[in-house]
């Protein structure tokens, strides 16, 4: 498909990324590296990555409404479709990308041993799903809209409603974990985790708009969340740095 040989991955642009140390997010204080990281051009170790075939994906993996509870019983809460496209920074679709998602239930409660929120578990909701992007880099899954939840940080911090995303591109250099937020949520600008990203446009790109064109009438609303991964340069020459 590609005509010219691909070079290494373009260096990460840190101005679009969160800072490691952000004291209002208290756990970052003792978990943030302080020394400068080591840079070098990507090698086969970063340009290769695990490949996951469509055979990995079970029939209900992308249907969080139904992949945990008894057969034909839906999870409780507002039904939504989340869809979007995974592309690289040069606009090329990333086909075959494994996406894993996890989230709280509609009440804001996670199914996890260390979760202490008083909101109840939904017996029909596990909270995980996965899918692989198609040849155009597109993906889609069904779930319930998660609720906001309080968390132990400041005396009264609430996470905006969000879905966690883990994405594998083609090279390990593209590995990314992020969170999708929902358009219109007033908690977004208040959240210390969101505020670890100092570039407002970068935050806005994590906010999924309502997408009426993909809404399923009388069934589910739709939200669109596009993801951009790092990309490889088109030519090997740009990446050749002598003496490294």
């Amino acid at each position: 498909m590609t005509k010219k040989p691909l070079g290494g991955y373009a260096p990460r642009q840190h101005q679009h990324q969160p800072v490691a140390l952000y004291p209002p997010y208290r756990t970052s204080v003792k978990r943030s590296p302080q020394a400068a990281p080591l840079s070098f051009p990507t090698t086969i170790s970063e340009e290769s990555g695990p490949v996951f075939g469509h055979s990995l994906i079970g029939p209900l993996d992308a249907d969080l409404l139904h992949n945990f509870g008894p057969q034909d019983v839906s999870a409780i809460g507002p039904r939504i479709v989340v869809h979007g496209r995974v592309q690289d920074q040069f606009g090329r679709p990333v086909a075959g990308a494994l996406i894993e998602v996890w989230q709280a239930n509609a009440g804001g409660r996670y199914r996890h041993a260390r979760e202490g929120y008083v909101a109840p578990l939904d017996p029909n909701f596990g909270g995980c799903g996965r899918m692989i992007t198609d040849e155009n880099g597109c993906y889609e899954f069904r779930t319930v809209q998660p609720g906001p939840y309080p968390w132990p940080n400041g005396p009264n911090d609430w996470r905006p409603a969000h879905i966690h995303f883990s994405i594998f591109g083609h090279g390990f250099a593209q590995r990314l974990i992020t969170q999708m937020y929902f358009e219109g949520d007033p908690l977004i600008p208040l959240c210390p985790i969101v505020r670890t990203i100092h570039d407002k446009a970068a935050v806005d790109r994590l906010i999924a708009p309502l997408d009426m064109s993909r809404t399923l009438p009388m069934d589910a609303r739709a939200y669109r969340f596009d993801v951009t991964l790092r990309g490889r340069r088109q030519t090997i020459f740009e990446n050749r740095m002598e003496g490294l």
Binding site: G91, V194, V227, R240
Partner: protein
């Protein structure tokens, strides 16, 4: 030319296990097995080793909620997906740290050297990627083998300005086939993390 900025990372949070290792988190019946639980899937060639370690925060406390991923070449220096790579080795492992003492563990193969883009080779290494609550963007590093003579000429280790920090990238043998690689997130023994 960049036309689209990379999406911003956000922390994996305390519940990363729900999405990445649901069986470990007690959410059974959704996926048969957790992704990356097995790196050796058959009669793979090469020396079997176990890579273990812990991830320590700036107070010296091991993280009990981190997740570590490993990506490495096989015993012939080939990555899964490359022509001739060992069909019984995935090269990819994923391990949730132990809920009590924070230990991670990979049952794997000792990798061979792999090429360096402008010629020569890189010493055997295992790429590690660490995510957890409080880590806003996944941390990328490498475990080299302290007993590997190839380290002498490794181009990455050779670039490290503060030579006393090279040791933070070395996995040390605890026995013939167990190597320990501890990660320190912050402080005087801080592991070298990569911007690559």
């Amino acid at each position: 030319m960049d036309t689209h900025p990379e999406s911003a990372s956000q922390t994996a949070g305390p519940y990363v296990h729900i999405g990445c290792t649901p069986n470990f988190a007690g959410i059974t019946g959704v996926y048969d097995v957790d992704l990356g639980a097995t790196m050796i899937t058959g009669d793979a060639s090469g020396k079997r080793i176990t890579l273990i370690g812990q991830v320590f925060d700036g107070t010296g406390t091991p993280l009990r909620d981190a997740m570590v991923e490993a990506w490495q070449a096989d015993a012939n220096g080939l990555y899964a997906g490359q022509e001739g790579a060992d069909p019984h080795f995935t090269g990819f492992g994923r391990c949730p740290c132990d809920a009590e003492d924070g230990t991670f563990r990979f049952e794997t193969l000792r990798p061979a050297s792999v090429p360096w883009p402008s010629g020569g080779v890189q010493a055997p290494h295992i790429t590690l990627w660490i995510v957890a609550r409080g880590i806003n963007i996944g941390l990328h590093t490498r475990a080299y083998f302290a007993d590997a003579p190839e380290n002498e000429s490794d181009p990455v280790l050779g670039r490290i300005e503060h030579r006393n920090r090279v040791a933070t990238l070395l996995a040390h043998p605890e026995s013939d086939d167990i190597y320990r690689f501890n990660v320190t997130l912050q402080g005087p023994d801080e592991t070298i993390f990569f911007d690559v």
